[in-house]
């Protein structure tokens, strides 16, 4: 049978965001897939160099609307590290609280979108209705539903009162009850099992080889979680489990995310009940001394890495963001190969893609007049060569 190449996106009913997949089909089966990026490329990293650190906070927040707190926390940790600021304990706890509330809202959102791709619209409506509870919590605590802007350099902007704490705990109790139902549905409902089991397989070694992160990696049995591996904020004081699953398919990713919801509720309760006393922010000078910092953060979708270079002024020299979807896209191409066309939207949705975070990797070459998107092999080769010049050999890794 002859091969046909069809485009999926940038505007496609199954995709919520602009991205493009070129699928090579043999009949109904996918024999190859290429990911094309750059539809969402806005040039934020360059814009960040022209704005002050505090202005950048609001720009970085808008890297992505779903994991906005992840990006600002990661960025602000870099800023505070260079400024050598002593962030108060209470501020760190509030940041962790927002991080977990954000994870709850993001995972519920994902569960809804995945259900929608399966054709299970009732579950989609259920999860999005329950997600409103978290958004109400976020709105009550920060004043906004989506971009909370709770972080400021040196701490957080708003404190949490006793009434707010009680209100959040009440809503979390409701969500816990609802999540029990989702765990039951996700693991027993025959429609879900039929659509997700053995779909989009990503074996353990491929997940490691392709650098998968977050729930995608954890569903392939890779126990990789920044919160446990290198605790930031106050995660070393919290009691939680890293959820892994060994089915390596979409079903595993669903189970991991739903069980992570339960862990997040546990953490939210721990943080709220043990909120340390003290100030919520310290003063940090406008100008930062010259220096570099790299930090990572476990965003709802996986490991988010931020790099910051300061040059002694009030504006950064370089800001670099590596969003989790960027790491997971390499795996999507693998997952789709050999699968059915009808499963493609679900497989794409299963990594919880967030293209607004991702689209910064296209390289424009003015001499050749074309755009090159670097693949994993090329980036790996470039990385190895770069470190060789600095005297470190990574080629055997």
């Amino acid at each position: 049978m002859s091969k046909i190449t069809i485009p999926l996106g940038p505007q496609h009913p199954a995709l919520k965001e602009p991205e493009n997949f070129m699928l090579v089909l043999e009949g109904e089966q996918i024999s190859g897939a290429t990911v094309n990026l750059g539809y969402n490329h806005r040039g934020m990293e360059k814009a960040a160099e022209e704005r002050t650190y505090i202005q950048n906070l609001y720009l970085i927040e808008r890297v992505c609307g779903i994991c906005s707190h992840s990006h600002t926390t990661c960025y602000i940790t870099n800023v505070e590290e260079i400024a050598k600021a002593e962030t108060p304990k209470r501020a760190l706890a509030i940041r962790a609280l927002f991080g977990e509330l954000e994870r709850v809202h993001s995972h519920l959102l994902w569960l809804g979108v995945a259900a929608y791709e399966m054709g299970f619209e009732t579950l989609f409506m259920y999860t999005w209705r329950d997600r409103e509870q978290v958004l109400d919590c976020l709105e009550m605590l920060s004043g906004n539903r989506v971009h909370y802007s709770i972080n400021t350099i040196g701490g957080v902007r708003r404190d949490i009162s006793a009434e707010q704490k009680a209100e959040v705990l009440k809503r979390i109790a409701y969500l816990e009850e609802r999540t029990k139902y989702y765990v039951k549905i996700g693991t027993e409902e025959s429609t879900i099992l039929a659509r997700t089991q053995n779909v989009g397989k990503l074996p353990y070694d491929v997940a490691i080889q392709r650098g998968a992160v977050g729930p995608t990696a954890r569903a392939s049995g890779v126990a990789r979680d920044v919160r446990k591996d290198e605790p930031y904020l106050i995660y070393n004081e919290l009691d939680f489990k890293v959820i892994t699953h060994d089915t390596c398919d979409v079903f595993g990713r669903l189970v991991v995310r739903v069980l992570e919801l339960v862990e997040s509720y546990k953490m939210i309760k721990q943080i709220l009940n043990g909120l340390p006393e003290g100030p919520i922010a310290v003063k940090v000078p406008m100008r930062l001394p010259a220096g570099e910092a790299v930090n990572h953060y476990e965003a709802p979708r996986g490991e988010d890495i931020h790099y910051l270079k300061a040059n002694g002024t009030d504006k950064p020299d370089r800001v670099k963001v590596r969003a989790p979807t960027m790491a997971n896209l390499q795996s999507v191409a693998y997952m789709m190969e050999g699968g059915w066309l009808a499963d493609a939207p679900l497989v794409i949705a299963a990594i919880d893609p967030c293209m607004s975070c991702t689209d910064r990797a296209a390289v424009w070459d003015p001499k050749k007049g074309k755009t090159t998107v670097y693949g994993w092999e090329e980036l790996r080769k470039m990385g190895i060569e770069h470190y060789k010049r600095r005297g470190v050999d990574f080629s055997r890794l």
Partner: protein, 145 residues
């Protein structure tokens, strides 16, 4: 007004079908647009349905500053929609570029690429604001009758 046009306007006002297009947004507005469609706000009760293809849509809901890559695609999608058609710019970015104003990859504001009927400001917009925008649009179409 011809009887045919009257009929089309009547049908449009009864159930305006919308197409959502992300032209480089941060997702903030997009999740709020989906929020407006789900149980808490539920604009579907006014006959609004999210459609998957531009050929079925009456209102194009655009979120995000228009990135250079997306401008051409946005134009194509708009041209595929049947008349009468309306464009709703949702969010500060879609209205004027917002926080992305000055980024090299962005043509700030949807109105630089398409004629816009309603601007809904906010970063991100609240679902109530989206509903209000749709109501304003319907009222203005009714006024033209």
């Amino acid at each position: 007004m011809k009887i045919k046009d009257k009929l089309i306007t009547w049908a449009l006002l009864k159930s305006p079908w919308i197409l959502h297009f992300n032209s480089g947004a941060c997702n903030g507005c997009d999740i709020e647009i989906v929020d407006a469609l789900t149980p808490k706000y539920d604009i579907e009760r006014f006959g609004m349905v999210l459609k998957a293809t531009p050929r079925h849509a009456d209102i194009l809901v655009v979120s995000g500053p228009v990135t250079r890559q997306q401008a051409k695609r946005l134009r194509t999608i708009y041209e595929q929609m049947p008349e009468p058609k309306f464009v709703m710019a949702v969010g500060a970015c879609a209205c004027s570029g917002g926080v992305f104003n000055g980024c090299y990859g962005v043509i700030p504001g949807v109105d630089k690429t398409l004629p816009v009927s309603v601007y809904v400001p906010g970063c991100p917009v609240r679902p109530e604001a989206i509903i209000d925008g749709v109501v304003k649009l319907i009222q203005s179409v009714e006024g033209k009758k």
